[in-house]
Symmetry: C2
Subunit: 332 residues, 2 copies
């Protein structure tokens, strides 16, 4: 092992509202020599995810906040460069959670092996990674089944588009909302959604009622805010809500929906979801959803930026709706 310098993205100050480039810096660290039982990994792709915004806030929480002056933790897919552990050999491809850095050393249990024959390997951050698994867990969480009418917000995002495609494979009637005509076209033409609308084109409730005149059975919430309120109105008796994300409120506080009384009157169930509770099901997910992908039944859509210095811009872009599907950084 030669002397390796790794670039990494560090948080230097906590954003107040929308993050800006000034909240981050790029730093260099020297990788320490490999010890017995350790593996050296060079990252190929970094995952860029909305949930990371939550960890940029200070304060006691169930997930510790990112530390200032340290590399941002997060998903990545990389290649083993050198190994002093029998579990891995150079050339193996692995996913990990060491985040926005070029190189790192790790113990075997901190790495998850994936199939290097699958292309592009970034799919292990998206459709076959944590966002795809989030979609799959969400559908399982409220038992989404054939015949259900499901409405998915943030439908052109990393979680949403996979949720919609998996729901179609289960025999659901699938409706999606997204923020541009291009995204709506993607949902209808590429992902097989039955109906889709642009939430910037008019009131969400009006458009949802038009797309689902008889109501919906399930709402897969990635955005919160006005869309959650509309869904509470459109849900049928005994409907279910998957509380997966609330991106509309990540950078500015929001009042809750003014019609939460529908939870009672319609006897709704709402369940919150963090995928990390479900890691013991990862093998089952990879087998089922990996099978769909290999068979060409599941489309993987990514927005790829190149270079670690583009990661911050890509992250800010998530809140401006710049991603179609999963946002990833390809390291050059």
């Amino acid at each position: 092992m030669t002397n390796i310098i790794s670039r990494e993205i560090q948080l230097v100050s906590r954003p107040n509202g929308m993050p800006t480039a000034a909240n981050f810096t790029i730093a260099q660290t020297q990788i320490k020599p490999l010890q017995d039982g350790q593996i050296l990994v060079r990252n190929l792709y970094l995952s860029v995810d909305p949930y990371m915004r939550g960890r940029m806030n200070e304060g006691k929480s169930y997930v510790p906040p990112f530390e200032l002056g340290k590399a941002l933790e997060g998903g990545a897919v990389g290649e083993v460069i050198e190994s002093r552990a029998q579990e891995f050999k150079p050339g193996d491809v692995v996913t990990s959670n060491f985040g926005w850095r070029e190189y790192f050393t790790a113990a075997p249990k901190e790495l998850h092996p994936v199939n290097r024959e699958v292309q592009p390997l970034s799919v292990y951050l998206g459709a076959l990674g944590m966002t795809g698994m989030t979609a799959w867990v969400g559908l399982n969480l409220v038992d989404v089944k054939a015949g259900d009418t499901i409405f998915i917000s943030g439908a052109a995002g990393a979680v949403g588009n996979v949720a919609g495609q998996l729901a179609k494979l289960r025999g659901c009637h699938v409706i999606g909302s997204a923020g541009s005509a291009e995204k709506v076209k993607f949902l209808l033409e590429e992902c097989g959604f039955d109906r889709a609308f642009n939430y910037n084109s008019g009131p969400v409730l009006e458009q949802l009622n038009q797309a689902a005149p008889d109501g919906i059975d399930v709402y897969f919430d990635n955005v919160g805010g006005e869309t959650l309120q509309a869904a509470l109105s459109a849900l049928r008796v005994h409907g279910r809500i998957i509380a997966c994300g609330s991106i509309s409120g990540y950078n500015k506080p929001q009042p809750g929906p003014n019609n939460l009384f529908n939870m009672i009157g319609k006897r709704l169930t709402m369940k919150g979801l963090l995928v990390r509770d479900w890691l013991d099901r990862q093998g089952e997910f990879e087998q089922e959803v990996g099978g769909y992908f290999q068979a060409g039944k599941l489309k993987s859509q990514e927005t790829v930026v190149v270079g670690i210095d583009q990661a911050v811009g890509a992250f800010i872009g998530l809140f401006e709706g710049k991603n179609l599907g999963k946002m990833v950084v390809k390291l050059d």
Copy 2:
């Protein structure tokens, strides 16, 4: 059967905000002669419930609104006066849903027999009736069990006080909120709550954090509003919410909680409840909770007003917190 005149309370106009006496009238109707297969019942007690406010509003809903110019539907316990059906005989005591009237005729399937030896018979509207069953169903709905810390709002109301007593019988740590010092005393001294506070004495979140410094596992919501928001903050990871009532918002619209994001981060489950979905479990409820009552393990608390002409005042009083336990009208 002689000529019977029955007085009844009718809705004459739909309340805008808080109901007033002017929204109601008292009317007389003549009971039609009994047909074969019919039973004549004289009501002994009328049930007065917050949920009736919802049915006073107009508009398409899952429960049809009360009709103007007709007697208000609702629970009652009465005595069979005359029967032309083999299922009932004079002297039998029954519950029904014909509401705020002195006499009515009904088919056997519209009547539910109860034990006339139990005293007071009004307990079949409260602890052993729909509000007690609501409490019991709520605890079952989210699997409340020994060791859970449960917080109950509206705890001195008809549903809340029974929910708290049943939770104590299950081995829970029970915290309640109510609107007066007298009610807090009732919860602590009569119902066996571990902790209780008066929400009019200070911010709910502050008082809840003081009562439950390590958080809560379950929130039994009867009030919504500020208290729901505080509970979302106090709930632990994988906590559960029973969405049973939202009395703080029945007469004026309310914004939703501004911290619904806790549903995701803490992976909470919220389930809405209407007791009428569970009527096939009524026998099981009566056996279990009736057993507690007969054994002196469950206290039944009622606020009784006398005379059908007092029903409207009793109903309005619910929103002013005038009831301790179940509000009933005793017919003279």
